[in-house]
């Protein structure tokens, strides 16, 4: 019985750990389209029709409606309408390769809206039975430099091609000729940043559950029609591609990249895991931060609960309780007075019990100071599943290790540490990795203020809450894991 209980506990722990890392609800999907926001909800469509809806970006359920069946749709908002592209596919790798890429419009993605009505789908590209292209897996791209609309498509059976569409009609631009931009990959899409066009595609084995080696790679070009070269200078038409994300510890088969720019400096990528070992090896929606390293996109990691130093990017000082610094009573051992034969003594770190009696009982201001690995600087960050979430993440409580003392937003848009955790929204924190790899930390609510402020260093040693500004290191923090 004890053994059973232990096994049960371990399993429960594993589930809790998993829930902190993956989308909640019923995020079952294959080949998800780029996530769209419509009237405060998030949508993504998948192969076979239908798709997922989320009210908070963290809990996902079925309910999205896309007619036409077929494979691997994509979506884009243009003006006040949504353009959906999908493929009426052939027989897959072992079958025929006659494919058709279709587009259609809808004023809303909410199937309960009276405005919800798809236009009749129109063909924008096609492939013959045995040509070097399989016209499925559409990816839409609006060039922010020119306002021109593009669509990539194709699979492992030959070339990936790009064609131009009319952003007013969603139809193929008359006379436009397809250009080959890659070979032998799937689920391509183009994105733009800093003068570079990026072509993302999926390599590896599709559709083989936990044995799928699906992985997302990228090449870049100064022109939307290529050539797209990887970090080694290989053209994607020659099979090139730099890794963006492949397998994880418990999830495998990353495919069908979609980019979502949430805020300046806050970008997320959607994709599917072909199989999630913690969820019956189902294909599931995944959302990760995008980090840009030397103008290359790479996938960030989901935030993991644990014990951390929270370090300001501004100075590198650590977030802490504003309490008296308590000296450790360990004799100073100047090197010039040392007996070289004296036995080595290992000293412990200062403990909470040694100092907590010196801390005030009530609310304590937060401060930022030199990291000394002292109890007033060690923060335990724990997911709060019942608090909902945001796109790709859930809310956390941030507490001094071994206590209930909780970081909280306060009146006047300041930040304090409350003696107890109550679950109030001002004690819940959104933690998002930024495109430079650092993090922003945002309270769910600020008392007395209808504002979306983030934890900010207004001075080297002074935290506060203020408007998000990606271009200021004041708004950025690093989490340095301690346990």
């Amino acid at each position: 019985m004890k053994t059973s209980m232990k096994i049960f506990s371990l399993a429960a722990f594993a589930l809790i750990s998993v829930s902190a890392l993956a989308q909640e609800g019923q995020p079952w999907i294959h080949d998800p389209s780029t996530i769209m926001e419509c009237d405060g909800k998030y949508y993504t469509f998948g192969t076979g029709g239908g798709g997922l809806i989320s009210e908070d970006g963290w809990n996902w359920y079925g309910g999205a409606v896309r007619p036409g069946g077929g494979a691997a749709p994509d979506a884009m908002k243009i003006g006040d309408r949504y353009l959906i592209a999908y493929s009426a596919t052939g027989g897959g790798l072992g079958g025929g390769h006659a494919g058709r890429v279709l587009t259609m419009w809808n004023k809303t993605l909410d199937p309960n809206s009276p405005d919800f009505a798809y236009t009749e789908a129109i063909e924008v590209a096609a492939s013959e039975m045995d040509e070097d292209c399989d016209a499925i897996d559409a990816g839409l791209f609006m060039d922010p430099q020119t306002g021109r609309l593009w669509c990539t498509y194709g699979t492992y059976f030959g070339f990936i091609r790009i064609v131009e569409l009319d952003p007013k009609t969603g139809a193929r631009v008359e006379g436009n000729e397809a250009v080959n931009v890659a070979i032998d990959c799937e689920a391509t899409t183009v994105i733009y940043r800093n003068g570079w066009y990026y072509l993302l595609g999926t390599h590896g084995t599709c559709c083989d559950g936990v044995n799928s080696t699906y992985n997302i790679v990228v090449g870049r070009s100064r022109s939307v029609t290529g050539p797209y070269l990887d970090n080694m200078g290989r053209d994607m038409v020659a099979g090139g591609g730099k890794m963006v994300i492949d397998g994880d510890d418990r999830q495998f088969g990353a495919g069908h990249f979609g980019r979502y720019i949430e805020d300046e400096g806050v970008e997320k990528m959607s994709f599917h895991w072909e199989a999630d070992l913690d969820r019956s090896a189902r294909s599931v929606l995944a959302i990760r931060p995008i980090i840009w390293v030397n103008d290359w996109p790479v996938a960030g990691d989901p935030f993991k609960a644990g014990t951390y130093e929270i370090s300001s990017v501004r100075r590198g000082y650590a977030l802490e309780l504003a309490v008296d610094f308590v000296r450790q009573n360990i004799a100073r051992r100047g090197g010039w007075r040392m007996d070289p034969n004296e036995p080595i003594v290992v000293h412990p770190n200062q403990t909470l019990e040694e100092v907590i009696g010196t801390w005030p009982e009530g609310e304590i201001p937060a401060r930022v100071g030199d990291w000394m690995n002292r109890p007033h600087q060690r923060w335990v960050i724990t997911a709060v599943p019942e608090a909902g979430g945001y796109l790709g993440g859930q809310y956390y409580k941030i507490q001094i290790e071994g206590t209930q003392k909780s970081l909280a937003a306060a009146e006047g848009a300041e930040v304090v540490v409350t003696p107890e955790y109550t679950g109030a929204p001002e004690q819940l924190w959104r933690i998002e990795q930024l495109i430079d790899g650092s993090y922003r930390i945002m309270p769910k609510a600020v008392p007395g203020c209808d504002c979306q402020y983030v934890l900010t260093s207004i001075a080297d040693s002074t935290p506060t809450l203020a408007k998000w500004d990606f271009n200021s290191d004041n708004c950025k923090w690093n989490f340095i894991r301690k346990q």
Partner: protein, 255 residues
């Protein structure tokens, strides 16, 4: 926090006050690289918003075993003594104040640097008569060590009090007092605590900042106290806005 009070009393600070007849810089030329005699005109913040016009009390002897003792509770106990609250009135240049202070024999500098025993110093209580001096800092940071040594009134183990007047032409919302000090310090506006910098501090521009303040139209007394053990001592003070930029639209007075 809204600082509704706007007051400055022009009365003399102490019954011991005497009109100064000797220019401090002439008397102590060592001050010249760091300080100048204030003009009668109002001063504005410098190009980065730093406040350079101050009334500085001669150092209060406060021996200590080093700067690491300056934790928050120590600062409150030793700097927040009520000296600038209640019926506190702006001192005038040359005003004197008498107080009991802790005294320790002068630090042995024969080795070229102070000996740091890291033990509580042995002190005796003595009566001291200290003078307020009106000075303009030539630098953005007010060099308290140079002030103490230059006036031959102290070196290490001292508390320096600083006072100035902010004359605000119209309400300014959402500003913060931003301070860097060597070593620890505490700051007040119209007698209300707005900021504390504890620990073994280095003088760093915008090291710490107060909560958001509203400076109401009128005059406000800005006061601070800086404590130092061994080593250099100085401070820099300015107001910053919501974006960390300097606030410039006010005058600085010393009377």
């Amino acid at each position: 926090m809204i600082l509704a009070l706007a007051f400055v009393a022009a009365a003399s600070f102490s019954a011991d006050a005497k009109k100064k007849t000797v220019d401090l810089i002439e008397k102590y030329p060592a001050l010249a690289p760091y300080f100048s005699t204030p003009s009668s005109d109002a001063m504005q913040p410098d190009e980065l918003g730093f406040i350079r016009r101050w009334l500085l009390l001669e150092p209060i002897s406060k021996p200590n075993r080093g700067n690491t003792v300056f934790v928050d509770s120590y600062i409150r106990k030793n700097l927040d003594t009520g000296w600038n609250k209640g019926d506190f009135k702006l001192p005038k240049d040359g005003d004197k104040v008498t107080m009991e202070v802790e005294y320790q024999k002068p630090v042995d500098m024969s080795a070229g640097r102070p000996r740091m025993p890291f033990q509580e110093p042995e002190v005796e209580m003595v009566k001291a008569k200290l003078t307020w001096h009106a000075l303009d800092s030539k630098l953005f940071n007010v060099k308290l060590y140079r002030y103490a040594v230059g006036t031959e009134t102290g070196r290490y183990g001292i508390i320096c009090r600083a006072v100035t007047v902010i004359d605000v032409p119209e309400d300014i919302e959402n500003v913060r007092l931003a301070v860097g000090s060597n070593s620890a310090s505490m700051w007040w506006i119209d007698g209300e605590e707005v900021l504390i910098l504890s620990g073994d501090r280095r003088m760093v521009m915008d090291d710490a900042a107060s909560k958001r303040l509203t400076l109401k139209k009128g005059r406000h007394i800005l006061s601070g106290a800086v404590i130092n053990g061994p080593g250099m001592s100085d401070f820099c003070v300015r107001f910053i806005d919501e974006n960390g930029n300097p606030v410039m639209n006010y005058n600085i007075l010393n009377k």
